[in-house]
Every structure is written in C-alpha cells, then in structure tokens.
C-alpha cells in the first residue's frame, strides 16, 4: 500500500476563473482542515461554457517536498468532471511540472467515503515541489455540464509525500457507525450517524534497515514514518495503488493510530497493528 502522510497545511490559495463564495463559506482554509465534510465553496466561471472552460485553484507554500499522493475529496463536481493536477518546482516559470500517474487523465468518481472526488497516485522519485495547481474543466465525459456561476464546493484538497509499505496478507476493513435501534414491532429507528471505515494492518517483518536504517524508498524507514505520523496522524492510505480505479476505491483518508514496533526472532522487526480510522465525506 501507499501511505500518504505529513500533509502540508500551510498553503496559500488563489482561484482563477471562478471566485470563492462570500464570507466564511468561501474560506479556502477548509480545503486543508482535515475534515472533508467541511467544504470550501466557490462559484464556477461566468459566461459561455465549453469543455475548455476551466476553474483553477492554485496553492503555494514556502517549503518544498516530494509529492507521492494527492486527493480531492467531497466535491460537488459531478462524476466524470475532468480535473488535472500540476506541480511547480522552485525555478519553474509556471505550473508546468507534470506529476505523472493519473494526474492528467482522472475524472471525478464516487469514492467509498460517501462523497465524490479523485485520488491521484503520482509517479515515484519526483522532484520536490512548493506549489500545485488543480485545473477543473467543464468537461463531464466530454460535455459542458456545469452552468455558469453555479455554486461548487470541495471538502479537502491535499498533495502530500507518501511511502510504499509492504504489509501482511491484506489490510482488514471494518465499517462502523451503522446504528439502528428497534421498536417492539421490530421496526428500525435509524439515527443519522455517518458510517466510518477502520482499516487495520501490520507490516511484514522488516530488516533493521527497513525499520530504522533508511531502508525504504526515498531514504525513509518505519521509525521515521512513525515519528511523522505521531506528530500529524492524518494520513491518506491507498491500500491498492496498482491502478487508478483500485486506488480510488481503496483509499481511506483518516487518522492513524497504533504506532510501534515489535522485535521478532531473527533480528527482524514488525510494526504493531496500525489502525486508520476514516474521516468520511458524507
């Protein structure tokens, strides 16, 4: 699986084409508030609409990092909307750095967290970027569907570093929050709790290098990963990242817990059971 972590929050946002909604509703801080349910609202560009009409959201920060995963969660954009993601390195003249993977091809899909969105799995070994741009096309499977000045929203927009982790025999997924109480007539009384997934997994037994010796890709190791997650437990776990469809259906945006490692026989080590509790969209 691919585990996105250390999600930067110190972005400065701007919008082109459309405009942020007035007041707190259009506050872009909600794009990175770690709560996909809390959205930032914006209005779609005015004027005649074609599939070339775009609305661009740009985010910049001071520090650079190597991106591995990105996601756009809980959006009002209809399924099939084409959204492209571009990066910008220090020294680039514009948002021209291609991030590979499905960043140029993916369209909005229904995600298993109850909302619509996109999960982008980026190429490995990218250069560090300090800014990114999301270009939303009025292209819903080839048709211009979005109406001028319509109210749109995005719950979470995140680009983050990620590490590939080898884990034991498939992660376990459980759903909770489905509460019904029953009357004497055996009729359900459904309360409005939003369902929530919990994913649990353990790494495979690791060598010292993988555990503590920068033995993972990009000089990462488990100890450093635990360190980063402990300081900021919000993660994007893409359980199966081999293709875009699998990645989006298996992605869980949530909070990780259960850090730690157990020593095994034969100078091997294994993580404790890592739980990722979902922060769903709806």
């Amino acid at each position: 699986m691919r585990l996105g972590h250390s999600i930067p929050r110190d972005w400065s946002y701007s919008i082109a084409g459309g405009a942020w909604a007035s007041g707190d509703a259009g506050n872009p801080a909600y794009l990175c508030d770690r709560a996909p349910q809390e959205r930032t609202y914006f209005t779609w560009p005015a004027g005649a609409q074609t599939t070339a009409t775009t609305c661009t959201i740009t985010a910049t920060r001071t520090g650079s990092f190597v991106p591995g995963l990105a996601c756009l969660l809980n959006t009002s954009l209809p399924v099939g909307t084409l959204v492209k993601l571009w990066g910008r390195r220090v020294g680039d003249a514009g948002y021209t750095y291609a991030l590979g993977g499905n960043t140029q091809t993916s369209r909005v899909v229904e995600l298993p967290d109850g909302g619509r969105g996109i999960v982008w799995v980026l190429d490995a070994e990218l250069d560090a970027i300090y800014a990114f741009q999301v270009v939303i096309y009025n292209d819903v499977f080839g048709a211009a569907v979005l109406t001028a000045e319509s109210l749109q929203s995005i719950g979470e927009l995140a680009v983050m570093p990620a590490s590939v982790i080898d884990h034991e025999t498939g992660p376990t997924e459980r759903w909770s929050g489905l509460t019904a109480t029953w009357t004497l007539g055996s009729q359900p009384n459904l309360s409005g709790r939003t369902p929530q997934r919990t994913v649990t997994l353990r790494s495979v037994p690791m060598t010292h290098a993988e555990a503590r010796g920068e033995g993972l890709a990009e000089d990462m190791d488990w100890q450093q990963l635990c360190n980063l997650i402990a300081r900021d437990p919000v993660v994007l776990a893409v359980l199966y990242d081999s293709d875009a469809t699998l990645a989006q259906r298996s992605a869980v945006f949530g909070v990780a817990s259960g850090l730690g490692m157990t020593g095994l026989k034969g100078r091997r080590q294994q993580t404790d059971t890592l739980s990722i509790i979902e922060a769903p969209s709806g």
């Binding site: 508030d33 959205r39 029953w182």
Partner: protein, 883 residues
C-alpha cells in the same frame, strides 16, 4: 446582567466620600460646594439615564448639583461650575454651566427623584435632560458628544449630613418609567454560532445565505431534553418548580474557534435546535428546517483542551429570577429602606402595607399605581373613606398616606386591586354625555340638551372666555338634562365650576348648588356649597370650602353621590338674589359633569376587581421577565403564547379548540414588602387556580397548558405497543392535589391576634372573616371514582387564588370532573416524531401490551403531559401519557 454606572472612586473631589458599594456620595467634613465626583461609564453615543436620590439632615441650598460633565471638568468645581459641565442646582432651581445659571427651572427638594439623561444618538444635536419626579424640567443642548459622564456635587457644613444615591439598574425597576435604558456598561455582543452534526452551508436563497454550519458536534454529544406539565391537582398546589428541560452538547474545539464563547460564558444566549434535510453537495435550504427545540445557554465550559460543553436550560428557568421590583428609597423607615416594595396584582385582601415614613404617615401598597383601593383597616376596623376630612389618600406611586394625625393603632391592612398596564378598568362614564363640558348651543338660549323647569329661572348660554351658562335673578332654578339618569347602587362624581357670582344677599342662605332627584322642588338634594339643607341620600359630601363670597373664583366644587333609588339628575341653583344689576351677572357656570365612577370596594368584598389570567401573566412575563407575546413579535428572544389564557378568560377572538372558556373574574397575587419571591412562584399561584402550567413549545415559546378531558378531544394519531422500544409502564394516575374542599379569596395577612377591640364594626362575622387564611370556604359535590374518593376526607382544603365564590366553585367542580373516570398513565420510550407535543391527545391502543392490568380495557384517548429523555440526535423520546 450589565454593569450599572457607579460613582468613580478615583474621580472623587476633596472631602467627598463613597458608601454602599460606590452608589452613595456624601462628604466627610465641612465643605463648600466647589467639588464633585464623576461617575464611571462615559458615553459618546446612545441614550442613557440614571436616577438620583437625595436625602439627609442638612439644607441643600448652595450645596447640591447633579448633571453631566466631561473628563476635563475639574473635581474642584461643582457640577456646572466649569465650561465642560452642566449641573442642576436642586435647591436653587437653576441649570448651571461655566459657573453661572443658564436656565431657571423648577426647584427640587430632598426625597425627590432626580433623573439625568443624555441622548447622543444625533451627533449634530446631543442633548441632556433633567426630570424631577418624572416630569421633565429642562432639556439642554450639549456642545458635542463628549464623552459625557454623570457627576454629582454634595456639600455642607457638617460631614455626613447629605447623601446622594445613584440608581442606574442596581435598584431594579425605575422610580419613574422612561423609555431610556439605564446608564450602564455596554456588553460586547457574541456573534451567532452555527453548529451542525455534519457541516454544510445554507443555500443562496435562504434568509441568511451561504452561512456556514460547522460540523463540530462531538460523537459523544447527548441531549436529554424534557418538556412537561404538572398542574394542580396532579400535584399539590403551590408546590414544586417547573420541571423544565435541559441538556448538554459537546463540541470539538481543537481549532480554538469557540474560545471567545467560553471566555464570555455565553450565559443567556438562545440556542435553537433545528432539524434540516440531508445536505445536497454541502448545501441546505434552511426554509425546510423544522424547529425541534429552543433553549437557553446556561454556560459554555471547556471540558478539556479540545472540547467545549454547552449546558442548556429551559427558557422557563428565566422565571426563577427574583420578581424584579422597585426598592423602598434609602431614606425610608429603617426596617423598610432598600427592601423590595410590595407587589400586588389583581384583587388582594388584607395586605399589610410597608411603612415608608412614620413622620409622613406614608405606607407602600404596591410598587406602581394602584387602580382601586378597597377597605383600609386599622386592626380590622375600617376607616370611613367618606369621612370629612378624608382619612387617607392614595398617590400615583402606590403609596397610601394616612391623613389623620395619628398612625394606626393596630396592624394596618388594605384590600386593593391592581390592574396591569394593558388591562383597562371600566372607564368613567359621563352621564351628561359631555353636554356640561363645555356647554353648547345658541347664545341666549338654554344650553343644548338641557331644559329649565319650575320654578323657572332665566338660564341662558352666554359667550365668554369659555362657553358658559348664566342665571338671572331668582330663587330656585333647575337645569334639567333630558337623558341623564343616576342609578341606584352606583357612585357618581359631580363637578361644578362657578366662574362668577354676584348680587347675593350676604345675610341669607346664599347660593347653593344641588343635585336633585325632583324636577320641581329641591326636596331631595345635597348641597355642593354652603350649609347642607337637606341630605336624605347620605352619604354625601360637603365641600369644605367657604361660602361662595369668600371663594376665589373660578371655583370647582366636587362631590360624590350614591343614589339609593334610580332617578334623573337635575342640577339646581338656589340663590337668594337681591339685585338685578342689568348686567345679569348673578351667576356664571362653565362646567357641570356627572360621572359614574367604576365600582371600587368600600364596604363589600364583592366589589373588588380581580384580574383575569391573561393580564396577570402578561404583567409577570412581559413586565417582569422581558417576555414578548409571540403574536406581537414571533422573533423575540423570549416569547410566550397567550392564546390559551385568553380562551380561558373568554376573551380570545378565535378560541383555541378544546380549551374551555372559563371566563373567571380573575385572580390576585401579592408579595409582601421585603419578601423574597420569584416570578415563577408568583405565576404559579395564578396558574394553579386555573389548573394550568407553563410548557416549552418546540420553537421555544412558552405556552400554557390546561386540564381538559382527553375523551372529548380528537386524537392526533395512534400509539400501540409496537411503537415502543421496550414494554411501556402502565399505572394508575394519582392526583395528590385533589380534594373535596377548597377555599378562595385569600387574606394575605390574617388578622388573628392583631384585631381592634371594637365590637360595633367588628362583629363576630367580620372578625372570623378577617382572622382566617381565606374568606370563602368551598365544597364540591362532583363525584369522583372510588379510587379518588380518598381525597374526600383527611386532606387539607386547598387554597385557590380566585376572588369570586362562583369561580372557586367552578374550579373545584372542573378538576373533580376530570376524575369522574379512572385515569391511567402510560410511560415508555419511542422513536421521535415531530407530532409528539405536550398537550396532544393520542389514541393509545394497548390491548396488545403484555402485563396490562385487568382494570384497563380497550383503547382510550390519552394526553402527552411529559416528554422526557428527548434526544434529537439519537431520535428517541420518552412519553408519559395520561387519560
């Protein structure tokens, strides 16, 4: 509670001192007038006022000035002694600025209330205003908007000999009503917080568009709300508080967005709970929101680093505040000073007035104007209100002044009725229909609607400064009104204004005015002036004024008249005129009115006017607790719904279905001076008599519930066993407040042990009546089922706050009729539906409920009287139904 203005301890002139928590200013030693003390809370905008009391032993001449100053006004000048201050020199009756008088105004005295107000809302025309005992004495243009602050100068030759107290909200109600707010600190407003289970924004076409509702509710948030009613006789009368609701909400606050709320406490804010449809793409049309409940924020507390708990309470709990009342002035008798004045609402009997001043023989009956005064008694012995001179008088501030030189020997008690602002007592009826004020008609003819009768005199309308009639020479002249009639048993006030009189024989019986019942001869009349010749229909009243010649004219004669038989009204002038000087100026009259006075009790208990339920609650909820009738403003912060009370009173334009029109004459509530009482306990007294209770409607409006027979009402729906989560509990409904006997017409101070020794007025009947807790005993013959029969004996009779025997009897019979059927209770928890409301009736079909006691048969209508453990988050509610 906003912070009232005080004297500023740091802005005190030399030799001045503060007492009583910086509310009283005095001086410590011999000091001239050139000093002042400024107050806190300077203002540069808005409208503000404060009242000042002035008292002490020293003279106030050249010693006191009260007004407004800027911060640049030196403390070494009296208020107004510098260009930056304006002061009212009380004794001199002058407004001073820059050391000299700029306006002459009414002079004041000690123990008068001086109000100072500013209106700075118009920056181009800021003004200050002074009122003396509620009357505006001066309006002063201010040069700018300041900031201005209140300031006071007090001085004298011996220290601690004059005192000035400031009141800007510390003392409850104002001495004199004014639309201006108290001069207080301004409380910073809290912005509205919108919180949701799941975050969303309101749609662009909602009344508040694109407002963000943040999804901050923690998963462990649980609400346990309650709405319930328990009226007499479901419990003992006058027992127990409101079983209001409450609950708590836990909010995630790790982003510190609720810090401001926690710091402010937020106490008293409205908390509205709405149910909204599921958001569509994070947007909700708030027009579709349904009110679930509305409560008051009791407090906002930080539970830990990232959790804030909102503790909610019922808006009804606002009524647990002290009955906000005026306090007795600081210079009142020592036992009464600064104590709450008594409060009376409606008809009350045998209340003990609060002594204000024994030197002035002044007692407080009420904290506002008293509408009608009944019998005033000294140890039970009634003062004769018709005696000459009048034994007491009532001022417009609810104070009774005993005119006789001696204070009461025994305990002073009084019967009175007090109506609320919006309740108009029967108006005075001018039975001459205005014809006597002013006279109208053709010059030189008899005034319109009048005729003259034998022995004929020459009555003519003349022109003049006012329209008047004049009598020529003659001995007896009658002026007859063709429609006026005095009815037996009523009371009339007669007013005659004599403008001019001439040509009388000073040695004779001279001129008299009389009201006659005979159109031909003055056989039955009493005089308005002069010696009473004939007064068959006493009690009458003679004007204590001197003979006409000694009067300064014009002179108004006033008399009261109680006809023993119904008869027409004739006005006679009886004059022994000796000259006709050609000018025909014997007698000129400009005003004759005969007014029917609404009945006020003087001797008979039945004459007092109790107040119906609606105005009684209006006085308590609107006058004391700041509620607004929801019909007047559905968006007010505190609302109540008077429709049920109006239906009970029989005054509703469109009566509420199923609510009986009782049309009781009304109720009476009294809280003695210095006594602690809450608005709730006062309201409870009235509600119990009507078998009513307050409850909270889903939108937070305070409604009134009353006892009705559920079998006569249409059920909202059906509740079966299958509705409940668990087996409902079924049990007998008990009625601990039910009895066969009751009493009404309360003596608020039973006189046993304080009675005068007189035996002529105080017959055993009267003594028994005054010594008991209540004057009327009642017994009901309405049958109840055997289960409730135990209430027949051994239970102390209940006291009802009703003044009329018929009302008390009906109240007894009404509640007993409810128990002519065995009543049961069903209690259980069900999934929440909007339709579950207090007072709704449901057809409860529990034939499928196991463990049904054998005494219950078949489905029956039952009424919801309690919604408990109501959790809108989980969607469950507990129901208690009675029927």
């Amino acid at each position: 509670m906003t912070t009232p203005t005080l004297f500023a301890a740091a802005q005190l002139g030399t030799s001045l001192a503060l007492e009583r928590g910086d509310t009283v200013l005095t001086y410590t030693t011999s000091a001239d007038i050139n000093r002042c003390c400024r107050c806190t809370e300077p203002k540069d905008s808005g409208r503000w006022r404060a009242e000042f009391y002035l008292w002490g032993d020293a003279a106030i001449a050249n010693a006191v000035s009260i007004g407004v100053v800027k911060s640049t006004h030196p403390l070494t000048n009296y208020v107004g002694g510098h260009a930056d201050g304006y002061g009212y020199r009380v004794a001199e009756g002058q407004i001073h600025n820059n050391g000299s008088s700029i306006a002459g105004v009414t002079a004041g005295a000690k123990k008068q209330i001086i109000e100072v107000s500013v209106d700075l809302t118009d920056a181009g025309d800021p003004i200050a205003q002074w009122r003396l005992d509620g009357v505006v004495i001066h309006t002063q243009d201010l040069p700018d908007t300041g900031p201005w602050m209140l300031a006071v100068t007090v001085s004298g030759s011996t220290g601690y000999d004059l005192f000035v107290m400031i009141s800007s909200g510390q003392r409850g109600k104002a001495e004199y009503e004014s639309p201006l707010p108290w001069w207080t600190a301004v409380r910073t407003a809290m912005p509205m917080l919108r919180i949701a289970e799941r975050g969303f924004i309101s749609s662009a076409d909602s009344s508040t568009p694109l407002a963000r509702y943040r999804g901050l509710l923690r998963e462990d948030s649980r609400l346990s709300l309650r709405r319930s009613v328990r009226a007499w006789p479901m419990r003992q009368p006058n027992a127990g508080g409101f079983s209001g609701g409450g609950g708590s909400l836990r909010l995630a606050s790790s982003d510190r967005s609720l810090d401001a709320l926690v710091n402010a406490g937020g106490s008293g804010a409205r908390v509205r709970l709405l149910r909204v449809p599921d958001p569509v793409d994070g947007v909700v049309d708030m027009a579709e929101a349904v009110a679930v409940d509305e409560l008051i924020l009791d407090r906002a507390e930080a539970i830990d680093d990232n959790t804030v708990e909102l503790v909610l309470s019922d808006p009804i709990s606002v009524l647990e505040a002290a009955l906000s009342r005026r306090l007795a002035p600081p210079y009142a008798a020592e036992a009464s000073a600064d104590q709450p004045l008594p409060v009376s609402i409606g008809a009350v009997r045998s209340i003990t007035p609060m002594l204000i001043s024994s030197a002035d023989r002044k007692f407080a009956l009420h904290d506002d104007d008293v509408t009608g005064l009944g019998t005033v008694r000294d140890g039970g012995f009634p003062y004769n209100p018709l005696a000459d001179p009048t034994p007491y008088e009532l001022n417009t501030r609810g104070e009774l002044i005993i005119i006789e030189l001696a204070l009461p020997t025994y305990l002073l008690t009084a019967d009175l009725h007090v109506a609320t602002v919006d309740y108009a007592p029967p108006a005075v009826v001018d039975i001459l229909d205005g014809d006597g004020d002013p006279f109208a008609g053709t010059i030189d003819a008899v005034p319109t609607n009048f005729t003259t009768a034998a022995p004929a005199g020459d009555v003519k309308l003349i022109s003049g400064g006012r329209t008047r009639w004049r009598q020529d020479t003659g001995i007896e002249t009658f002026l007859l009104h063709d429609t006026a009639e005095c009815e037996a048993g009523k009371k009339y006030k007669i007013t005659v204004t004599l403008d001019q009189i001439a040509g009388l024989n000073p040695a004779s019986t001279r001129g008299k005015f009389a009201l006659c019942s005979d159109s031909t001869a003055p056989s039955a009349f009493f005089t308005l002036q002069g010696t009473a010749v004939d007064s068959p229909n006493t009690p009458g009243y003679q004007d204590p004024g001197d003979e006409a010649e000694g009067l300064s004219l014009p002179h108004t004669f006033t008399a009261f008249y109680y006809p023993s038989t119904t008869h027409d009204v004739y006005l006679a002038y009886l004059g022994n005129t000796t000259i006709d000087n050609g000018l025909q100026t014997d007698c000129i009259v400009s005003l004759v009115t005969v007014e029917e006075i609404p009945p006020v009790s003087y001797t008979d208990d039945e004459e007092a006017e109790p107040l119906p339920l609606t105005p009684t609650l209006q006085r308590l909820l609107e006058g004391n607790a700041g509620f607004v009738n929801v019909a007047d403003n559905p968006n007010a912060a505190r609302r109540w719904d008077s429709t049920v009370a109006e239906t009970l009173d029989g005054t509703a334009g469109s009566p509420v279905a199923d609510v009986p029109e009782l049309a009781y004459a009304g109720t009476g509530i009294h809280v003695a001076g210095g006594e602690e009482a809450t608005i709730e306990t006062a309201a409870r007294v009235a509600l119990d008599a009507y078998a009513c209770d307050f409850y909270r409607k889903p939108d937070g409006t305070i409604g009134i519930w009353t006892l009705t027979l559920p079998e006569d009402r249409t059920p909202t729906g059906t509740i079966t066993r299958a509705t409940f989560f668990d087996e409902p509990k079924i049990r007998r409904h008990r009625a601990p407040g039910l009895s066969r006997q009751a009493r009404c017409r309360r003596n608020w101070t039973p006189l046993a042990g304080n009675m005068s020794t007189d035996t002529t007025e105080l017959t055993p009947d009267v003594r028994a009546k005054l010594a008991a807790d209540y004057r009327i005993g009642l017994i009901s013959g309405v049958a109840v089922t055997p289960f409730y029969e135990r209430a027949a004996a051994g239970v102390p009779p209940k006291g009802l706050a009703l003044d009329k025997r018929a009302d008390g009897q009906h109240a007894m019979d009404r509640v007993r009729a409810y128990y002519a059927t065995d009543r049961f209770e069903v209690e259980g928890v069900v999934p929440w539906r909007d339709a579950y409301e207090i007072g709704t009736v449901w057809l409860v079909d529990y034939t499928d409920i196991r463990d049904v006691p054998p005494y219950i048969t078949g489905p029956r209508n039952m009424e919801i009287i309690d919604l408990f453990d109501f959790d809108p988050i989980a969607g469950t509610v507990g129901l208690l139904l009675v029927g």
